[in-house]
Amino acid sequence: MLTPVHPIERASPLPAVVLQICEDCDTVHRRHALARGQVAQCARCGAVLERHHALSLNAMLALVLTAMIMFVQANVWPIVTLGFNGQYSSATLWGTIIAMWRQQAQIISLLAALTLFFLPLLKMLSLGWLLWFARRGRRAPGFVPIMVTLHYIGPWTMSEVFVLGALVAIVKAHLYFDVVTDPGIYAYAVLTLLITVFAGIDLRQLWELTPESPG
């Protein structure tokens, strides 16, 4: 039995605020305003459609700035130092990337440079740029290409995996060497916390929070 459940959809152009399509199963939903802490789930497949945005643009910008400061710290300071018969050896992220390059593992070196340095940096800079303008209700110059780039960067930032990797490396090294943890590892740990907070934020809201034409 065909019931006309969707008279609105016949009218075009479609207001994006009315409808929402589940990315996982293509089911069309009507959008509802969400209360604090509410999550909209797809009725067919259970995917998360939308979350309530608890953080204001200012709060998000503050988080991005904090993450940038932590990122600088995490890269400047050594992560860990090993002691062996009075000799000491410490490593930073870039030291690690360069060591892998010199040891004939250029592919891994490149992967590490991208996923642990360049892409996280690009992500933070573009977010900061977009949010800086969005909090004044404007679209930043280059808004569209930056939003598309952010979408593609998606899962290719791996700082949180690196933190766990450092932990494992420390335990392994501890069997044979004296291990001293350095400030870098703490900076990384804080960065991981910030990334976790950020992971819950749907950046697509920026499309709707800012008007189509700049200025």
Binding site: V5, L14, S89, A105, L111, T115, M158, V168, V171
Partner: protein
Amino acid sequence: MSALPRATELGLIACHVCGLVCSDAATAQPGPGQALVCPRCGSGLHRRKPASYTRTWALLIAAFLMYVPANLVPIMRTASLNDIDDNTILSGVVELWIKGSPDLAVIVFVASIVVPMLKFLVLGTLLVSSQRGSDWARPQRAKLFRLVELIGYWSMLDVFVVSLLTALVHFSVLSRVEPLPGVIFFGLTVVLTMLASMNFDPRLIWDGRDTDD
């Protein structure tokens, strides 16, 4: 037809990149051979990810070809004055279990062995069942896919461990750590499985006998 309308039935397309809901009618019809373009972000619009089955299969098979040497070839060499010790992924886990801490060994075991295997099994199952248009356990299959997407990149763990140890342990001839080719194969496996799961379109799970694209 179910009570939950799908975008295809209503003549709607969601942009993969920005999520905008577009209607077929509202979007200017391009000439033949031209792609529809999202009016908001300029990305190409597709009902389904293009050539999803072909690309996912290709990447998954390539990943598996890398996965075999990744497990058989040693990933790391620990050299000291009197001996050389080559470790594969599995022997590294065993060593960590015996000498270090069993709890971390479990984490490494899950990240380096369980997660990649799970990805092969899950993506393989999803590909076969969706291509057959099976309606078996659809909600569960959808959940499995989301799980694979969520945990996939944690397999890079061992790659980063080897990298850090390489950078740290270089005490002249007394003690050094060097990466071995296994770690490159493993890194490539992780990247290829990530690309494979990105190219799989979960909408295909719900498509019945519809064709790809």
